[in-house]
Amino acid sequence: MITRSRLFLLTLLALAGMLTFFKIPLASSQGVTIAAAQVAGALPLDDVASAVWEESTAVSIPLSAQIVARPMFPDANVKAVDVRALYNDEQIAFLVTWEDETMDDTAVRVQDFADAVAIQFPLVEGQPFFCMGQQGGNVNIWHWKADWQAGLATRQDVDDVYPDMYVDGYTFADTEAGAIAPVSSYEDINYVPAMAADNLFASASYASPVEDLIAGSFGSLTSQPAEMQNVLGHGEFTDGKWRVIFTRDLQSPAAEDAQFENNQVYQLAFAAWDGANEERNGQKSTSQWISLQLGEPAAASGATGAAAPDGTDGSGGQSSANTLEGLPYIFVPMLLVFGAIVGVAAGIWVFSRLPDPKK
């Protein structure tokens, strides 16, 4: 016979099952705040081991697999990232570290995917949908890629991964160079169409390992124009750990960029990809929104501070990121929450009506 204690046990089991099924971490990141430490001197732009990082407390942020939109991948590998933040009068820097069994820093062969990590900032007040924003709620994304890092000095090329390849010469490239002619030597870039189309992925060289993007829903991710790419970065892999630094000026001239001021609280979220697990695009681990605190926020200006510059509501400016539908997705988590509330209410009602064995 079903008694209150048995039902309680069953409910607990069902709840645990649901949490496992939906990969909901028990340790919620909600309410976590990264306190950025203000430093007087220069920020460690490319020194992941600098003692200056110790001035900020590392915050561990749990990540879970993206399971809202296809393609999704419940078995995403990165479970958490540790984050520290520093700022001075001009710049802000983040150090993001996470564990990864393999260093995947090439994407030349068809089966190779690179490790990556990203930080996302809302461009509107409050918290738009935590995955890629939503219509009318654009987000600014800084995306560091291990292969861009590895290709900073010289872009990785097919002759790097296939050193024994032989080619007489590539027409329209440096024909004398044979197999080692770099793509940047093409006289007529129409034969490198992605380069001709100004795709940053195909640029002859990378100015930074971090790509600066905007998004306004799933599928809308758009790279900012080359001249607006202003996020610097540096990543190193040692002892099964990636350590990646992101740096940018506190204020950016780009309309669709996050802006930072002292004594404010901002929202941000993280995502990470394990290349060895073929993770890319929506097949990733993400965090919920996290708070980022610069200095001592005045009581009133606190909670709502968004990285949106004045006058930007996220729907103006570069609207290309906004034209695709994404709104339905925000209903998925809303539905889940609503379902949970209804479930709990129904549970309490049933519970109250069952015989209590103690009586």
Partner: protein, 422 residues
């Protein structure tokens, strides 16, 4: 998920986007019976589009020897296996009901699942079934050409009967493959960025090189494996349907649509390329004077490749007469037997029309037939069959005559004094 109508399956099916159809659709017929495996088509495409760095392994056009050759290796076996396993898991069977034919279900009704439907059924988290072929699988499109199947020979291994129709004991055939410029492209469904689009003017499917971020979801989910990753640009590329020629913008084209490079070079004269008119609801507008419409929808002589994948591919094949029927039925659907029967004893119009293959580089939009005399009477498929020396005339998009050929080719006899001259 939206519901769209797939006439090749004779039923509505699930697809990620709502129906939206081009005004005209790029289509072609490949007559497998005539292909000599010379790979001129393959070379023409490579010399036009894929000779640059990072494209070394790209053969947007490839000709593979069936049953063992494939590019990438075993693509067909692998995707068929995935689809089969999906049916087993779901407790369903991938069967056709060929009895239920109708105007919008010419091959009957497919009762199994497509690659898209199976992905939903199995909750794969993706839009379609698929896999990413690693670099070592992009090799060896042609092997076991002459020893494809074993036959029982005499003591010396020599066949006692030789080969005879309807099915040769030892068989293989060439399968010519380009992107199918599908009506419901799985590559476009798979792309999380909507970087793949189908052109309104001709239904050619292209990857926007400015939006592609090299996720390779299209490489993974095109069931025909016709989207390919370029390591030097970190973007995927695919057959572009030679769109400047199809648009009529090629300097040679005189402002009218021209056949693509791979079609126009074919010495085996196996290919016919053109555009068919599409109604708003996706149906083919009836036009029995259009050679493609006549052979694909009228005579049903040419059939789609693996229609059960559900992408509604737009390259149509005249199946090889000598290959085992179960293999062909799996490959081209239930219309195979009728197509082979009609190809073996072609109608008067079909025979004349077959002369148009590779008669001109210009796309033929309309044909006419001038009747000629009876030249031959033989038995075919157990019945009397007559051959007439009819003349077929092809017209371009502007209605100008671009080709005129008769069934009996003109015969020139070499004069006695030049018998041995080369």
């Amino acid at each position: 998920m939206a519901e769209v109508y797939n006439w090749q399956l004779g039923r509505p099916m699930e697809y990620v986007y709502e129906e939206a159809h081009p005004n005209r659709q790029f289509a072609a017929i490949f007559n497998i019976n005539r292909c000599i495996g010379c790979q001129t088509c393959t070379g023409a495409c490579k010399a036009t589009w894929t000779f640059s760095k990072g494209q070394e392994y790209m053969w947007w056009n490839n000709v593979e020897s069936k049953p063992y050759g494939s590019y990438p290796k075993y693509w067909d076996v692998k995707i068929l296996q995935q689809l089969d396993e999906a049916h087993q898991t779901a407790g369903r069977s991938a069967e056709w009901d060929p009895a239920q034919t109708g105007e919008q279900s010419p091959y009957g009704i497919y009762n199994g699942m497509t690659v898209t439907e199976a992905a939903t059924e199995l909750n794969t988290g993706n839009q379609a079934l698929g896999y990413l072929p690693p670099d070592n699988e992009w090799s060896a499109p042609n092997f076991y050409e002459d020893t494809a199947t074993k036959y029982q020979g005499d003591r010396l291994g020599i066949s006692t009967e030789g080969a005879a129709l309807p099915v040769h004991q030892t068989w293989f055939f060439y399968l010519q493959r380009i992107c199918n410029h599908c009506t419901y492209p799985a590559c476009a469904a798979a792309c999380p960025r909507k970087a793949i689009y189908k052109r309104e003017e001709d239904g050619i499917v292209l990857i926007d090189q400015s939006r592609c971020r090299g996720y390779r979801k299209c490489v993974e989910q095109c069931p025909y494996k016709k989207s390919m990753y370029r390591g030097t640009t970190h973007t995927s590329e695919k057959c572009v349907g030679c769109y400047p020629r199809v648009e009529g913008n090629d300097p040679l084209s005189d402002g009218v649509p021209m056949e693509t490079r791979c079609m126009a070079v074919c010495p085996g004269k196996i290919r016919l390329n053109g555009l068919v008119e599409i109604a708003e609801d996706g149906t083919w507008v009836e036009d029995l004077q259009n050679p493609l419409y006549y052979l694909i929808r009228g005579e049903q002589l040419a059939l789609p490749l693996y229609p059960q994948f559900g992408t509604e591919p737009n390259i149509y094949y005249i199946p090889p007469r000598w290959a085992p029927r179960p293999y062909l039925r799996q490959m081209f659907g239930p219309g195979v037997d009728q197509a082979i029967e009609r190809y073996s004893a072609p109608s008067r119009t079909t025979l004349a029309l077959m002369q148009l293959f590779r008669a001109t580089q210009t796309m033929v939009f309309k044909f006419e037939i001038e009747e000629g005399p009876l030249v031959r009477e033989i038995e075919r498929n157990g019945q009397a069959w007559q051959m007439y020396d009819d003349t077929v005339i092809g017209f371009d998009a502007k209605g100008r005559e671009v080709a005129r050929l008769s069934v009996v080719e003109p015969l020139h006899e070499r004069p006695k004094e030049r018998l041995n001259s080369i």
